[in-house]
Symmetry: C2
Subunit: 293 residues, 2 copies
């Protein structure tokens, strides 16, 4: 097996048959009642452990969102580390959604902490606002450890456009400029795997399918991490715009629509673990159909 | 005393007489030898505690950089929390340099974790790439708790320009666009203090004095947090561009040039605590002279 992150992720997707990822965003208020007697950080480990077990046969990857853990300080971060460990033990690829960013010397510290440890996440998200010298330290550590990085290019939230659509005189948008930087950085020696994709990927929100199509052209070697499905409003068809023909090149994330499926009337009477497993299957099937269409 | 963050910071600057801040960026390799026998997270608390003691009479604020702590996982984050606590106990304003960012619902988690706790930092830095709905949750929590937020506008690193100088057809730069968004968001009800400044400030690197002058016009109500002095190459004169006439409106940060002053030949024979205190005084004097010029 190749130790390039892009190859590893693509192999995992092929094995599971679905290019999807479940986000681990544990909000204490929304947890099953039986877990609310525990302190938040313990409840999060219990909950995420159950989610991991429920989805491990369905999806190739999970994406723990560190903000939900960090809310509870260092005890929350310890829970995040434990969740990453449990997901890796279950054979899942782990994408730590941390969106870290800083000047080079400081970025090197984040890179060491998040990508430099064997039992840490397989990849993380980062924010590229500081440019190439803020991205380079993450790439260096990723390359040395067979890990990956996804740079925010076009985010899924409502006001993304007010910043990211800023255009130059020729109509080229700022997010396209960011995409070009990512494409160039991702072609550096040692980053592109056997399947032609770089371990430097991009975050491209599913809520903007027109933009995703254009970005697919600018970044042929980037794997797209695609948030926005479900609770944020994007459909499977919207997500399909991030894939190349042949249904390869992206992985779609769903968080709330899977995690909290047990709160949905459609799952009334089903225990929460089964509801999560069923929702993950429906999600995977939905994306598979749209992508292979 | 006003509980608006901008008022609090300006009062603290007036009390100490110097608009400066010392960055707490503890790198294990660079620590005094006597601390290297401790595990990193304990060494960091010892070191930062000594730095706080050495500079508390000279500077109004410190800026712990969480990346250096996060490198050591949850144990490092616990050390960060302790350093924040010690700095507050010493009467210093604490700016947590965390550069967090995400979509609204997730940003609310970061905001609660970093600005929603009484003994946490007085302000944090954030990255505005996701636009207004990613910034709003930080402002909500800051307003409710008398805390502050600094949005990255123009960073101090060498490749900042390749991203942030992207210009529209009229020559307006992307960082100016970001500055306009920050200026507008910072004028919302309840954010501007008695001295006319908003609790929403901006990070403006000292390494680009021409840009800082233009940004000073676009953001009249923003306090500028100015990194880049010393190790990053900016002079006190470069930093002065971020102040309004009268020498108000900004706070300049120095990290490495103060923290590791004891490694400098100029301080040979001085114990490391004294060297740090002396370097902080020289730094404060240097900025004071340039700003009041």
């Amino acid at each position: 097996m190749s130790d390039n992150f892009a190859d590893r992720l693509l192999e995992a997707i092929a094995r599971k048959g679905s290019p999807v990822c479940v986000g681990l965003d544990p909000a204490f208020d929304k947890l099953p009642d039986e877990l609310k007697t525990l302190p938040p950080e313990r409840a999060f480990v219990e909950f995420c452990s159950a989610v991991i077990e429920a989805v491990a046969n369905v999806v190739p990857a999970v994406k723990p969102q560190i903000a939900y853990f960090e809310r509870y300080g260092h005890a929350g971060v310890a829970a995040y580390e434990q969740v990453v460990h449990l997901a890796r033990q279950a054979g899942l690829i782990v994408i730590g959604d941390v969106k870290r960013n800083d000047i080079g010397s400081t970025a090197a510290e984040y890179a060491a902490g998040h990508l430099g440890i064997a039992d840490g996440p397989d990849a993380i998200t980062i924010n590229g606002y500081l440019g190439a010298d803020g991205i380079a330290p993450f790439l260096d550590v990723a390359k040395a450890n067979g890990k990956g990085v996804f740079v925010l290019v076009r985010t899924s939230n409502p006001s993304a456009g007010a910043i990211q659509d800023f255009a130059d005189g020729s109509g080229r948008k700022f997010y396209e400029h960011m995409a070009q930087q990512v494409a160039a950085l991702g072609e550096q020696p040692g980053l592109v795997g056997q399947q032609g994709y770089s371990c430097l990927g991009a975050v491209v929100g599913a809520t903007w399918p027109g933009e995703a199509k254009a970005l697919r052209q600018i970044m042929p070697r980037q794997l797209f991490l695609v948030p926005g499905y479900g609770a944020q409003g994007a459909t499977a068809k919207d997500c399909a715009a991030s894939f190349k023909s042949g249904g390869v090149g992206a992985i779609v994330n769903a968080s709330r629509s899977v995690l909290y499926a047990f709160r949905d009337k459609a799952h009334a009477g089903t225990n929460w673990r089964d509801a999560i497993g069923q929702a993950a299957k429906v999600f995977a099937q939905d994306i598979r159909s749209a992508v292979n269409h």
